[in-house]
Symmetry: C2
Subunit: 298 residues, 2 copies
Amino acid sequence: MNYQQQMDRAYALTEEYLASCFQGEGLEKAMRYSLMAGGKRIRPILTMLFCQAAGGELEEGLEFGCGVEMLHTYSLIHDDLPCMDNDDLRRGKPTCHKVFGECVATLAGDALQAAAFRTVLFAKGPWSGEGAAAPALAAGVLAEAAGVQGMCGGQYWDTIGDGQPHSLEDLTAIHDKKTGALLRAACVMGVLACSGHREVDDSCIDAAREYATHLGLAFQIRDDVLDATSTTEELGKPVGSDSANGKTTYVTLLGVEGCREQVVEHTRLAKEALERGGWRGSIGCLCWLADHLAQRSN
Amino acid sequence: MNYQQQMDRAYALTEEYLASCFQGEGLEKAMRYSLMAGGKRIRPILTMLFCQAAGGELEEGLEFGCGVEMLHTYSLIHDDLPCMDNDDLRRGKPTCHKVFGECVATLAGDALQAAAFRTVLFAKGPWSGEGAAAPALAAGVLAEAAGVQGMCGGQYWDTIGDGQPHSLEDLTAIHDKKTGALLRAACVMGVLACSGHREVDDSCIDAAREYATHLGLAFQIRDDVLDATSTTEELGKPVGSDSANGKTTYVTLLGVEGCREQVVEHTRLAKEALERGGWRGSIGCLCWLADHLAQRSN
């Protein structure tokens, strides 16, 4: 399989797994609506690719990855609520609360967070020996990334802030919590998924964390560029909302050209970080993915 | 120690542990506000008493119990939001969103759910042998109880329902999910906390589940009676809101006298269930607690 095919395979596995969850009526319908609303599935793809790089199979990272995706989806549902970013569109579709109402959207997010931990903790092995601890370790990584020191803390500072424009340092610190923490968890959990079955060199965890940090920064800077330069049709969501809200972004701080340089630089650093891990599988697809995301147009 | 002293000790341990969490500014302030707003701490007390009944020490159930309390607190914060029950007062104090705003209250709840899993997963042992799996097992129990099959699903049906008055069967099914599931988790997690250090008879898990189910029903029916017969000052929250909202409660279905009989019956069944477990410690305090809660006035 070439790299695109590996990514397509990880994507297809994710879609298939997630589609099998929450098939009931009531609250499950709202959970399913947002979960299946067509994301890029970058987080579960990263989890699976890291599992493969550490020496495992893509499939062995599937459940941990889908747990991360559920957690990511809950955060999007809550971020879109009127009391938060008040967005009507997400990925070209009405947001969860526009379809189901605020009460159900709040509960759907809450239930997806619980489901994320459930999915990771009950991930089917076959775990062996010390590897039996892998689901607990992975869930612990996820809990740290999701909480007040990670994603929720980042969202708080991004939304509430201190009423002042952010410096480049502040902006990076916020994004590092808001999106970086969960990307790091996705990558590390891939290595942990492999360690549940096989021996894995400790250096892989650090390399995964560093790759994720730079990938996340490149991703966020690219996002800001796209928000400033694309159309609503291209992105499937309203554009220009950042500048309309007077929000500080990488584009307001660095300009479009400065941003493009930073995307290139962080993509390079992400790939460089990978080389410091003692991988038993191939890191080729992870390098390719970093380049691929740096050039994305939506 | 007599039973009241054991309960006071478990309560004091909980207050001390929770007060040591979230001491920072920003989002942590809102988490701390709701966490320290003076609950009865029934869930962590149950966790600790079940750990003791299974043959362990109260303290060994502390962290699992505090994880459950964090999860319970998040659910209260979200339930109080304007898009849910829209309550201004909780335990005699302004609700989280009245003090910090809806956005922060939503995030504080989200972060407390993550913190609940983190607290359980990183609970300090010393776990031994097969007992090393205790935090993962406990977190799995918590995830199931918190999700769409448990608490969130119950809250959904309670808030959204089907527009029709509920039958006694429906009402019990809703409360069993909305509050019963987490009480069961609290009790089972206490047994699991003990099993991380010591041998525990399997029968204890089933007995804990059944005790929790009946205790939860007795508790809820007592709650409905208090809502119908107390004053705002006695309860520390607005009373009569159920009947004002035209909501079906145990009082509307059974009358106050019928409710009192059911509280007695479920309290008896809770204590009877305990006798089916192979406990190595004393169940005396758990029996006393069931009686104590049946007679509570707030």
